[in-house]
Each structure stands twice: as structure tokens, then as C-alpha cells.
Amino acid sequence: MSDLLKMTATEARNSLLKKEISSVELLNAYQNAMEKTEALNNYVTPTLDAAKQMAVNADKAYAQGNAGPLAGLPIGVKDLFCTKDIETTACSAILKGFLPSYESTVTSNIWHSGGVMLGKLNCDEFAMGSSNETSIFGPAVNPWSKIDGIDLSSGGSSGGSASSVAAGSALMSLGTDTGGSIRQPAAFCGVVGLKPTYGRCSRWGIVAFASSLDQAGPFTRTVEDSALIFSVMAGHDPKDSTSASLGYTNFSEAVKSNIEGLRIGIPAEYNVDGMDIEISDLWKKGRAWLEQAGAKIVDINLPHTKYALPCYYIIAPAEASSNLARYDGIRYGKRIEAETLDAMYEATRADGFGEEVQRRILIGTYALSAGYYDAYYLKAQQVRRLIKEDFEKAFNDVDVILTPTTPTPAFPLGAEVSDPITMYLNDVFTVPANLAGLPGISVPAGLSNQGLPLGLQLLAPPFEEGRLFSVANAIEKQAEFLLAPARAAGDLQ
């Protein structure tokens, strides 16, 4: 049974096809792992009864020879995806007890392909955070070793999604990425995290944070697994006007593509102040690996990189301030009773939203309000265009861009909560891709001096996820990264 947790999704899929293992066995192993890693606080709502039924169905499908591409594979879901009749909270007090009568398009796609739902995973409240510490359930903990006896952050906002895959309590998981919420926790936890092109996956049924930036994506242990699940997640959805009308692609082929002759861009501006030396060393290593694999390294410039974060911290809160207006205590979620309607709104929202969420709503409200719109919101939109144009120019000369995923490895819980700006700086390398709508992937590539995982990020032009998979695969091969967090379940240790 312990071997089951070691399998990648692709391996498990092959064993299931060959009937060497059953879906129910696989689920049992993961159920066990979920219990053992409870202290990591990854699952906010386990759904093991549903999982059991889904595993039984998957085994039937294998027996009948009509098993979908994800049949029997245990998958965890960030608690930002609405799941039918299963509590969906966005890890916020304001949505406590909310039972959607609908299933998000992306999760629907997963279940239709036979995926087995393990439960809802911890995240920052409304996906606003980079450490999972804004969750009403408390932070999801990084399974890698503690530092000085203090738990490490799993990153955020999709901390539970990253941590569970690293800890072996989910084979794969779903997250969302608005400014780095998939790639940063993936880097912190030592797993593969993909943020697809904006418009690639439907946003329908996902609790919105910043609509023009949000994208769903998978966490996996390997690049190959990422391509497997992403092929199922992606696709046009007429219910989402921003979803691109592209047909089905099987990305598994792309993983194996040769990268010889590909041009890899190294943006000078990503050498930021305060970047750990071990991070820049890793970046150099990545560059060397790709060169060895036959790629051509090209130095490029993305001159507006520095402004991506402040630009993001106008646009995302502005959209959020409006997206979160619907949490008003009338149709669902929490309500604090009061005499008047306005008093009810104000009490409900003050009580229901956590501090960081309130801060962002207020910043966003400010940026959109009369007299400040031009100086903040409009300015940010203009800078956003310049950032996008930087990439467009760069992609004239290169096929893929290589950067570190984060400026530091995972930090201890509580280390950065007090200062919002320090926390925001975590996303310095990831935010530009969201502003420009580009696909990005974080691949675990090495360990810090303290033995913590570090990730490299690859960015590609819109809808070139296939290219990302090929290059990520090359890095994965050369890095020979060993996923061995101290606090993983069973033999993953």
C-alpha cells in the first residue's frame, strides 16, 4: 500500500489500466495519508463518502473498459471552486455553511473524466494572501521541515493544494492563480504548479477574486502529470465570456518534445534587490541545464517588471472590491442582524471578512472612487498594457522565458504577516504573467541551504502551454529533484 503514494498520476493511471491496482485501494492509501497529515491542516472539508462512491465507479469503468483519463485518481480541490452540495467557503467566515447547488466547470470536467474527489483544500481567504495565513481555518502548513521549531508556510493562496500534493495526501490538486497563487506555493512545497493562459480554463463556478487575472490550474508531482490533468481542465465554456474558444488538446505529447533550438529568454530585470543568492544560483543552473538540452539562451529585457506589483495591487483589489460586494448577508452566507439594511451590511461585512480581505476591498474602493480613478486605476491599466507589450516584444526574440518562481524559499509562519507590502513582494516574479495573461509553470529545481525546495518559473506566449511542458520537462529531468518533505505521509518521507 505504501508504494501507492509514491506513484505519479501517470504511473497510477497505467497501473489502473493494467488492473495492477484498484481505484478503491488507491483511495484507501490517500485516505490514510489524509489522516496522518491532518496536522498540516490541508483539508478544510474532506469528502470521503463521495470519494468512495467515485472510486467504486472508477473501478467499474476500468472493468468495462470505458474509464476516463483521470479515472480513479484522487484529487483535492481548492475551496474556491464551487462544488455541488459540498460546503464551499473560500476559507472565509462570510461564506461559512454555503452549499452551492452547482458545480464549477473545471471540477465538472475533472469528475466527468473519472477523477476522485478527496475534499476541499485550505487557501487564503478569497485567495488573498501569499502564506495561507488569511484562511479562517488557520494556515495550511508546509510539509517540509520546520525551521527553528516553527512551521513553514505552504505559500498562498493555494497553500493547501500545494501542501497536500507534496505531503502525499492528494495525488493531484486544483488551485487558482491570480498573482502567483499556484506557482508560489508550488515552489514553496516542491511540486509542479501550472497557471494556464488567461481564458484557457473556465472561471465559471469559481469564487471570483480578480476576474481579469484569475485562472485555475493544477498541482502535480511531475510535469507529465500536469499535462495529464490540464488536458482535462482546459476547454471552451460558453458560460464564461472570457473563455477562449479552442478545441481539445492532449498536452501529454508536448511533454516529450525536444527543446533543441528553442530560444530561452533570461530577463535582466528579474535580478531584483533582496533575492536570495541561492535563488540566483538556481536560476543560473536552470539556464545551464537548458543549454545542455540544446536550447539557446538569449538575454532579454522586460523594462516594466518593477511596476508589475504596484500595478497588480491596484487592479486586483479594484476588481475584488466589486466582486466581493455580493457577500451582503442576503442570499447566502453569514449575516449579522441589525436594525437597518445598511447597518446589517456593515456589520456582516466587518465580521465576515478578515483583515487582509477588508484591506484589499478598501484599497480597491479607494482606487475606483471619484477623484482617484485616473491617478490609480486608469494609471494601473496603462502600466498593465506596457507590461503586456514588454512580453510581446520579448517573445519576438525568444520562445520561453526562464525566471525564478519566488525571491526566497518558504518562510516560517507568522514571519511576514505584520507587513502587507513585504508579503506582497513574494509575488514579484509571478504577477507579471497574470497581468499579461500568459501561461506560467513552476518546476521544483533544487533545495536551499536549509533544505527547502526552490522553484524555477517558465513563461510562454498565450496558449503555448505545450511549449512550457516541454521545457519544464527538460528542467525536471536535469534537476533530479527529490520530493521528500519531512512531514509527508508514509514512504514519501
Binding site: C82, L95, W204, G205, D240, S321, S322, A325, R326, D342
Partner: protein, 484 residues
């Protein structure tokens, strides 16, 4: 055009602008697939999108886009091939998203123009500033519970066109003419049913006053007026309130006001301490709305004739009076009925018969034109019998009543009842002879100079013919006989 109102300190000019919300005729809502039809049980015509459940997204209804463009064409307005949906952010119990999806900086329709005709026959042009698409809100019921309001989201998300006029009206009469004309155009186009009672068409009226030649005064906005009468009352009230206020040394405050239908007065809206700051920004769930010239051309080709055009033809080609034409073009159904009924025959006589007899009968019976037992071709048939002298006008009235009662053709009724007009000269002469023979004394009086008696003879002959004698011939022949 200056219409002045006199106050204690001299004359005042009134400036009125209107924002009209017109519900788009469509099956489903602007951004969701639930029904846009009025009158369901509470919260039944509501989808998860309309209720703003987490993660729900808007998808635009193409028909509503067409309707907006069609309306823009009907208003002789500039159609914008690129427009943007914005969010207008504010909290209200019947606004589930916490924002209304509307169009702010880039509306689908730009400047246009509506012609209104005033009671003195003068034509006045009212500029259209813009038309944009937006969502309606739900409904709050405040009278169901002593301390609670009840919320019904059936209307939430229904498509509205907000049509904004320029401040180019100067009296309640003009404002009334404008809303009537707008309603008529919308109904001709089939883009809004114009039902003001059900709220399909409602107006926010901006009123200010100024001394002639001075800069615009501060305006107030009276919201949600759903009848022409209320619009006029609200304007009259505001005009006098503002003039008195200023003349008493006060100042008009720019504010939103409510109209009390019971008293005919406007009053300031409570909770106004809330300075409105709608924080408009482009809705990131939607992309810009775009279409090409071919799309516009196709709609243009399928456009029905509008009242102005039809009226022109009625007056200039058919020779109708402006008044008669106005009666006939008020509703598209009426104009179509008339065109069919009058086609190929005397337009004026048909117009007369339609606006006097037919409308009178419909009114009396309390039914709509669509239910009329007399169809256009049948009315035309009656006119034909009058024109070719088969029946007299008087008989025609009788025939019409029978047609209205039975739904039969005029010809059939005339035959069945033997009502055909007698135009046989010898038959009429013999009737005249009989009448004169029976009234020799009066014949003498007439010949002695009492010419008034001529009418008496005509009446007697007509009576003898049971009304069927051709009155023209009776006149002519009587004269010949008497004036020997």
C-alpha cells in the same frame, strides 16, 4: 423656442432633460437565460446568475444587442460598433451583485434626435445624448411586514435601454410629447412594449429653471415616473417649487427626488447623506461589445416604417390633415390597419370612417383594434360602396353598425337588407312628384319665397325612399321641379 413662466421676480425659463428606462422586448434576460416575462411568482424567473451566486458569470443575449441597435436607428442616432459594459457599484437589497452592469464611457448608441409635435402644430427637435444597455434591479416590497422588506429578484437582470435626452425640453407639454413620441417609436420598432403601468417604460426627469439667457440652473432628478400624467405633474411641481425657492432667496440643491402619486408632489429621497460614488469600471467578466457594418445594415433593411415617415405620406400624398394623421399613426397597428383599409380607394373618406365610426364603436365596445370585428378590407369595402354611390353616407352608418355586429362584408349587408341607393332618375322623379302632390300648400309657400322649405322637401323625399335615394340627385331634381 422659449416658453417662459412668470414669477415674482420676472420670467423664468424651464430646462428639462429625461432619462428613460425602456425594458427591451426579449425572451430571456440580458446576461442570463431566465425568462424576462413579467408576472411570475416571486424569485421564479431567477437563475443563479441573477441571484449573484459566487462564481456566476454573465453571457450577453444577442437579441438585446439587436434591439438596442434597432432603437438607435429609430432615433436617427450614431451606432457605436465598439461599446463597453461597465459595473456601476452600489449596495441595495434588490441589487444582488452589488453592482449593475451598465455602459458608462462607451455606450452602444450615441447622439440622435426625436421630433415632437406640439399642440400648436409646431415641430420641436429633442436631441438624444445616448442610449445604453443595462440590467434592471429586482424589486423590494416594503408593505409586507412592519419591520422587514421582502425581495423578489424576478426583474433582476432584465435588459433595459436607458435613453438619455439632451436638456432640450422647456415645458411639461414638451416633455409629455417627447415621452409619447419615444414610446411610439419603441413600439413601432418592437423593441419595448411601452407598458408604463407595468414599468416597462419609466422616466427620470431632470428639471432646472433659469432666467432667460443665464447659465443652466441646478437641477433635480425625480425618479421612476411611470405615466405621462405623473411626468407632467412632477415637472409642474418642481418648476414652481424651484422658482419659489429661488425667489425666496433659497437655493436649489442638486438631488434625487421621489414623486408622490397621491399628492402630485415631489420630495427629497431619504438617506441622501450617501454621496453617490458609483466607481464605474469596465466589467472584467465581459469583453467589449463589437459588431460590423453588415450587422447594422441588416437591421436597417429589416426596419419597419416609423411614425414620422408614415405621417409624411399621409399628409403629403393622401392629403390627410395633420390632426387626422396623428390619430392614425399613434399606434403602429392603427397605421397598418389604415394603410390596408385605404389602399386603392379614397384615403380621406377611409380616414374619416376609421377615426370616427370604427374608433367610436371600438371604444363603446371596449375592445382593441386587433379584436375589431370589422377588418381593414371590410372597412375598405364600405368606403367603396360610398364612393361609387351605392349607398349614402347615412345608410353607410347603418351598414357599418351591422358590420360591426355581424362581421359581415358591407356588400352582403346592403344586399340582404336591400339598402342599395336609388340613383334611378325616373324612380326619384316619381317619388318627388308624389311628395309635391301631397304638399301643394308648401309648394306654393316655397315658390312665394319661403326657400327654407327646400330642406323639408328633401327630407320628405328621402323618407319616402327609406333613405336610399341618392341625396345629390334628389337635390338636383327637386330644384328642377320646384324652380319652374
Amino acid at each position: 423656442m422659449s416658453i417662459l413662466v412668470s414669477g415674482r421676480t420676472g420670467d423664468w425659463e424651464i430646462v428639462i432633460g429625461m432619462e428613460v428606462h425602456a425594458q427591451v422586448v426579449s425572451n430571456s434576460k440580458l446576461f442570463s437565460g431566465s425568462s424576462a416575462v413579467f408576472g411570475a411568482s416571486p424569485n421564479n424567473h431567477v437563475s443563479l446568475v441573477d441571484a449573484a451566486m459566487p462564481g456566476m458569470l454573465p453571457v450577453i443575449n444577442g437579441q438585446c444587442v439587436k434591439q438596442a441597435v434597432l432603437t438607435g436607428l429609430g432615433l436617427n442616432a450614431k451606432i457605436n460598433k465598439f461599446s463597453v459594459f461597465d459595473r456601476k457599484n452600489y449596495f441595495y437589497a434588490d441589487l444582488p451583485q452589488g453592482y449593475q452592469i451598465s455602459q458608462f464611457k462607451h455606450p452602444i448608441v450615441g447622439e440622435g434626435e426625436v421630433q415632437i409635435e406640439l399642440s400648436d402644430g409646431n415641430i420641436h427637435k429633442v436631441g438624444i445624448e445616448r442610449l445604453h444597455l443595462e440590467q434592471d434591479a429586482g424589486k423590494s416590497l416594503h408593505d409586507q411586514h412592519p419591520s422587514k422588506s421582502y425581495i423578489d429578484l424576478n426583474r433582476s437582470g432584465v435588459a433595459l435601454m436607458e435613453i438619455v435626452s439632451k436638456p432640450e425640453m422647456h415645458s411639461a407639454e414638451q416633455a409629455a410629447a417627447y415621452i409619447k413620441k419615444l414610446r411610439s417609436i419603441l413600439r413601432y420598432l418592437g423593441t419595448c412594449d411601452g407598458n408604463m403601468e407595468e414599468g416597462s417604460l419609466r422616466a427620470d426627469v431632470n428639471v432646472s429653471v433659469r432666467k432667460p439667457g443665464e447659465a443652466l440652473g441646478t437641477r433635480t432628478e425625480t425618479k421612476n415616473l411611470n405615466s405621462v400624467r405623473f411626468i407632467m405633474q412632477a415637472i409642474e411641481f418642481e418648476v414652481h417649487r424651484q422658482i419659489e425657492l429661488i425667489e425666496d432667496g433659497g437655493e436649489v440643491i442638486q438631488e434625487t427626488r421621489l414623486f408622490d402619486t397621491a399628492t402630485g408632489m415631489t420630495r427629497t429621497m431619504r438617506g441622501k447623506e450617501d454621496a453617490h460614488d458609483y466607481r464605474y469600471f469596465p466589467d472584467p467578466d465581459l469583453l467589449p461589445l463589437t459588431f460590423d457594418d453588415a450587422f447594422i445594415e441588416e437591421l436597417k433593411d429589416g426596419m419597419p416604417e416609423l411614425p414620422d415617415e408614415i405621417k409624411n405620406r399621409m399628409v403629403n400624398e393622401y392629403g390627410l390633415s395633420s390632426y387626422d394623421a396623428n390619430v392614425l399613426i399613434e399606434e403602429r397597428e392603427t397605421a397598418l390597419f389604415y394603410e390596408l383599409a385605404s389602399d386603392g380607394r379614397d384615403r380621406k373618406i377611409t380616414a374619416n370612417w376609421m377615426s370616427v365610426e370604427l374608433f367610436g364603436a371600438l371604444n363603446k365596445a371596449g375592445i382593441e383594434l386587433a379584436q375589431s370585428p370589422v377588418k381593414p378590407k371590410q372597412l375598405g369595402g364600405l368606403v367603396d360602396l360610398i364612393s361609387d354611390g351605392s349607398i349614402s353616407g347615412k345608410i353607410a352608418k347603418e351598414v357599418f353598425s351591422a358590420m360591426f355586429e355581424t362581421g359581415k362584408d358591407a356588400k352582403v349587408i346592403v344586399e340582404e337588407r336591400g339598402l342599395k341607393q336609388v340613383s334611378d332618375e325616373s324612380a326619384i322623379i316619381s317619388m318627388i312628384d308624389e311628395v309635391l302632390a301631397a304638399n301643394l300648400d308648401k309648394v306654393d309657400e316655397y315658390r312665394g319665397g319661403k326657400e327654407k322649405l327646400f330642406g323639408f322637401f328633401v327630407g320628405q323625399v328621402m323618407k319616402a325612399s327609406k333613405g336610399q335615394a341618392n341625396p345629390g340627385m334628389v337635390n338636383q331634381l327637386l330644384k328642377q321641379k320646384l324652380d319652374i
